[in-house]
Symmetry: C2
Subunit: 275 residues, 2 copies
């Protein structure tokens, strides 16, 4: 039976690329036009897995997606880091000078603003998605229109990339996670990273005490982020990622944190996606 | 001489409210349509102070604004927390049923989506700003058009608020900071908060060691956030806010951190804006 994997955006998007990298081609995609819809499709059982962007080097953590994972008790079972590149693509046989309009998501247009300043003959039109426009150009044989999308979209829809990496900021590494509703049965030997969440009072030294435990148990911190707990002054949530070599040491840290921290929660244990 | 204060957005915006709360009415505003323009106006001397949103409870830290402060060596000299409320306003003598169109910033329209679902007779039109639309409605006497803006805009432009707090998520506390290019001469007795930045290698226990120092010096942590240093694998920047009672203890912590952490930088010392 094919796995149904929910992705944010359409076929040919970066989310699709992550699904493909993890599970190959024998998957069934469920295209979702928002992260809320993505999570709903897990909750109602219409998808078994979902790919979700969680942070990037330009904007930092995507806090609403952390909230979606946390509030719906989803489990992170894997992660991948991708460099996000925007490529300009159109029907084959055309060049940049033939392009009259670019249709794309407002965020993608914004991220490529400097490029389009140099090509004022191109009109920018806001659209619902990036890759979906590539599909529409191919299906409807639209001449003079270009899409901004990842390379995988050009391959799928048989388009030509006329300009590579047109985004203003060249380094935009995005971290994607694979989530599901049930706790996974990952092989323990594969696991060397954990995402944890806990609460602490605004008390001097409370976080240092937790980090000392993590350090004593040989955990390396790869991310830490505090968020005030809404409507509870002086209480903070912490989202922490750690990597480790020894799963037994991790279980020891987990057992101590369960006692020390309030509302301790494991968002997931999985294989580190950083090369 | 009037102080020139740069704000993001237009007169009547939340940024304007913060400028007003800090410096009263005898100020000259410089309206900036982006945070980049805001910072440029400090750098070229056309403004002496700037108000900048830095984080909010929905989206978390506004990382690009941290980068603007850090890269341009700006100094944080004050902060204020505001609950962001969107109010629907129009020319006096009109009611909700008279409104045909709402013009506003795409983000404000998005944040009030649920309200407008219940009022499908109103057409939503994207515009460049929130408060600037309120001004335009007043100046051009536009009937049937409403703006989404803070209460201060209705007062300034003599409009009537026809619906209060129409945003979907009611708790959106935003932290604003006042920044300038030169180090401030704050009275030491006013100072009980500091924003610090430093780098650490991805080494077990390095952050715990720093937090132990802060704790030993009686600093309370109110925010911590890690960001990977782009193009330097395994190196992390940390943005940390601390509050304290004793300025001498703070100076002690500062002196130790200067020795322990790499690229240690004080983004600002100022009076805690949390009540």
């Amino acid at each position: 039976m094919k796995k149904v994997i929910a992705i944010q955006g359409a076929e040919g998007s970066n989310h699709h690329k992550v699904a493909h990298d993890f599970y190959g081609t024998s998957i069934e995609l469920k295209e979702c036009m928002s992260f809320d819809v993505l999570v709903d499709s897990l909750l109602d059982g219409s998808a078994t897995l979902a790919v979700m962007a969680l942070e990037n080097t330009i904007a930092g953590s995507i806090i609403p997606n952390y909230a979606l994972i946390d509030n719906n008790n989803l489990h992170i079972i894997g992660e991948e880091y991708l460099n996000i590149n925007h490529h300009l693509m159109c029907l084959k046989g055309q060049e940049l000078k033939d392009i009259k309009e670019v249709w794309s998501h407002p965020m993608a247009l914004l991220q490529c603003k400097e490029f389009f300043k140099k090509h004022p003959h191109i009109k920018l039109i806001e659209d619902v998605d990036t890759a979906e426009v590539a599909k529409r150009i191919a299906n409807k044989n639209l001449k003079g229109i270009a899409a901004i999308a990842p390379k995988i979209a050009a391959e799928i829809f048989d388009l030509v990339v006329i300009e590579d990496e047109i985004q203003t900021i060249k380094d935009n590494s995005t971290r994607f996670v694979i989530v599901q509703t049930t706790a996974p049965n990952n092989g323990i030997d594969q696991i060397n990273k954990a995402s944890l969440k806990f609460q602490l009072n605004h008390k001097r030294g409370s976080l240092a005490a937790i980090l000392n435990v993590l350090s004593d148990c040989k955990m390396s911190l790869t991310k830490i982020q505090s968020l005030p707990v809404i409507e509870t002054p002086w209480k903070y949530s912490f989202f922490v990622d750690v990597t480790f070599d020894d799963y037994k040491e991790y279980k020891k840290a987990e057992a101590i944190l369960k006692i020390m921290a309030e509302e301790f929660k494991i968002l997931g244990t999985y294989k580190n996606g950083r090369k």
